[in-house]
Symmetry: C4
Subunit: 277 residues, 4 copies
């Protein structure tokens, strides 16, 4: 879908998903750091949230595949004709959606069934991002310089997100990794918008491939990163203060006693080890 | 062995090995999560399994080397003549088999002798995969585009498997890493079949190197990955349910009490650390 | 700022910052290893130091951005004219400073507020170094060989520092990682001076791009590394002996008893695990 | 020193060093696994060994630098003349030796003084290998294909050794990492001999750069790796059995009771964690 809308729609999805991850993980972190020692299982509320998230992911992936296949100029589920492949771009996009759907299935399965090993959902998400980056990487051959460059930059949040999500398979409940993942999704979403603005501007011609444009795009990517960091920070602060006000007065003394425990758990464990001297 | 069979035979081996690893590690995981706390040593049954696996690996490597050497158009153990090297391809394949043989020896040795440090078998397997990828990497120079591309894609499961197996030297008994390894072997096996179908099709000419074919092959690789994930998931579920039914009624209450402990062990350890707040 | 001063000023900053990090982390390490077991919180002195460091970082970043923007031949906050981008180099440098400013804000925030997860300051510093390296990487296209090579070498301390700082998010209070970071900042600073001497020498012409010069520059980089290691080692020894003399006679016996605990904490934890046999 | 001897001498050093590391680490591992729980400090014997090793490293580095500088056609400590750099190759080799010397100093310092953080010796060795690989990498530009290829292959053990030694800063007393390091030094040593045989054969002309030779060299590298693995395994077995026989009859019953504890310590810790279910 080589037009503005074709970049804005997935961009919006990634933006929303990034914000959603920020909210969810800040809530979970609040819950973790405000629990008395005895209770350790996540309350049913978080389970329901994970069902909804996984379900929406599956639904979105399904809709995405259908749209890519049965859009007016789509392949309509035909893979090849006698002389050539039919609409390889649409098929590639369908493949990307497929893996995000698999990631949604893994999320629902690991929430539903305690026998599924913890971390499978993160592994599936990491693979989905890897596949997205992998297809993007071979997507951009033989394109004009600016087009290739701007598509290559999207690989930074994609492979970065894949690596950090893979780390989460082993290091669980680390708020920094979780917010980094959210931040990289927001960066990816806003960068899709940027691609749309540069290659398929709503008015005026597409930018050309001169050196100045390439240099600006590189720098602009860093600004997107700074904005994504700012958005994650602000959202986290808003969510944290809101939930603290709502969790009410009966927790106030408890918070006073516990606000030193807001370190992430794995770091705390490390610190505890290091403090045993 | 540049023909369909030359890719189908190793492909079948890798496929079978991947399935075998899935079954073995699911059994081990079942055993680990259903043990009372006191007993920690693997039962003799798993030791026997490891002997058989290591032995078969050594045997297969030996047969592979012999076939590569003494096939009709093989080098017959001659390395060079006065003017050139004899059949370098066959020698390269023999070298790959050699390292899988070494990996088998390491497995038998580390099962047999408690003095061999735990993890040596994984290190040897990781090196075997590294050597395979290393030789493949220099294998594909000066070939047509499609041929080089399809051979380069096999490096993803090979080096990915090498890295994840190396991780297992340090993170033991993690079911996610173990099944990821199984999945990557299945992917490698099915991809060998795909190489055979594309470059040496049973009927019709080999595919040519146009852009459409390269794009399709890239996407097709992702489909193989999705199928490999599906196969590992299904096999795991089947094995798990079968073994649970067979392990019988006397465990039922125990399972009811213990099914929360199905998290992988290292993650559980991390969780336990993080829960100590 | 393509002149000697434009490389000497940031170089001096990085040099000073590297020395400062050495002093700070040796002090913290001394404090950690000389504490009785009960007290674990850093004393207020270290908090004040972190405020000052973060504040100076924000101030320096602000001044840097202002200078890059409002210097005589700067862009004066104009991003583009009708026909081209205005002074992309100055904008790129401003972007680099921006991220060091964000890193300073993260440092102040994580010192001020206990709710900010530990490690956010290191993540922000790691991102600042990543952005610096990222912009440098695309900075050097289309330049003469020697110019490109000497700028590419600066990526070694930048990306190396980014990776080691990212590790510090997970492995806290490890004196080796902390001093490695200090060493890489010193290396970066001294290399900026070297770039200035080679490309914009104070007298005589700039060096040309012959092979001998490129080979010498590569080797010279290693000498800078050796000198940086030496400087960190000497500074650490001087700071350590000074603080030990000042911390006075009442600690002498304690030191005698405790000097075995000078291992870094995480290693000690590992050793303790390994010794439990 | 572009002749056979110039490759055989460092090759012999690396071979000897690899064997030495194997012997040392097997002895240390034997000692670790045969200790009663109470005693944890290394006996003075191992300290003396580390002094000797560090001292020899410093001495060899010093001799190496002197030879490179004051050999008949060497630079005699002149860095440049008015028109060009003097003997850049010799200066590069001197730089490599310098870093191995620094590594020796770090080893002596960390053995001598308990205040030096554990792991500094490994960091210095890792840096020495990194610098060696770094200089080699830029060493091989503009050479014939075979020459460049055979020199590039030496980067595998060099950078691999650098990475595994860096890991040892964090994961101490892991016999697998220690023997891997020994193995990579042996591989590097034997590969230096191979470079000598190929590029400066004792009789006959140097090999030319045809494809067959390049393919053979790639495969030959894997054979060297297999031989290095074999040598490390055999040496370990010989040293282990010797030391067990010498440690005598009074330990026999103890060994009988303890031979399950021959797993490496960090793995054991992981296993212990994973077994606590």
């Amino acid at each position: 879908m080589a037009n503005f809308g074709g970049h804005a729609i997935p961009g919006s999805f990634f933006l929303l998903y990034g914000f959603w991850l920020t909210v969810k993980h800040v809530l979970q972190h609040f819950w973790r750091t405000h629990q008395p020692k005895g209770r350790q299982n996540m309350p049913p509320f978080f389970k329901k949230i994970d069902y909804v998230e996984g379900g929406l992911q599956i639904f979105a992936a399904f809709v995405g595949i259908m749209v890519e296949q049965f859009v007016v100029d789509g392949p309509h589920a035909h893979l090849y004709t006698s002389e050539s492949w039919v609409k390889p771009m649409n098929w590639q996009h369908s493949t990307m959606y497929l893996f995000f759907g698999i990631s949604g299935i893994a999320m629902v399965a690991s929430t539903r069934c305690k026998l599924v090993p913890t971390g499978v959902d993160r592994l599936a998400l990491s693979l989905a991002l890897f596949v997205e980056g992998f297809l993007f990487y071979y997507h951009v051959h033989n394109r004009p310089l600016l087009d290739a460059h701007i598509h290559k930059l999207v690989l930074v949040p994609v492979f970065g997100g894949s690596a950090s999500t893979m780390l989460e398979v082993f290091i669980r409940d680390n708020i920094i990794l979780e917010l980094l993942r959210a931040c990289l999704f927001i960066l990816q979403g806003s960068w899709f918008y940027q691609i749309g603005f540069v290659l398929y501007p709503l008015r005026g011609p597409a930018w050309d491939s001169n050196d100045g444009n390439v240099m600006f795009i590189t720098m602009c990517f860093c600004w997107h990163l700074a904005v994504a960091l700012l958005l994650v920070a602000c959202t986290s602060i808003v969510v944290w203060s809101t939930v603290r006000r709502f969790s009410g007065r009966q927790l106030d003394t408890e918070i006073g006693m516990r606000n030193t425990s807001s370190k992430t758990s794995s770091q705390k464990a490390l610190l505890e080890e290091s403090d045993e001297e």
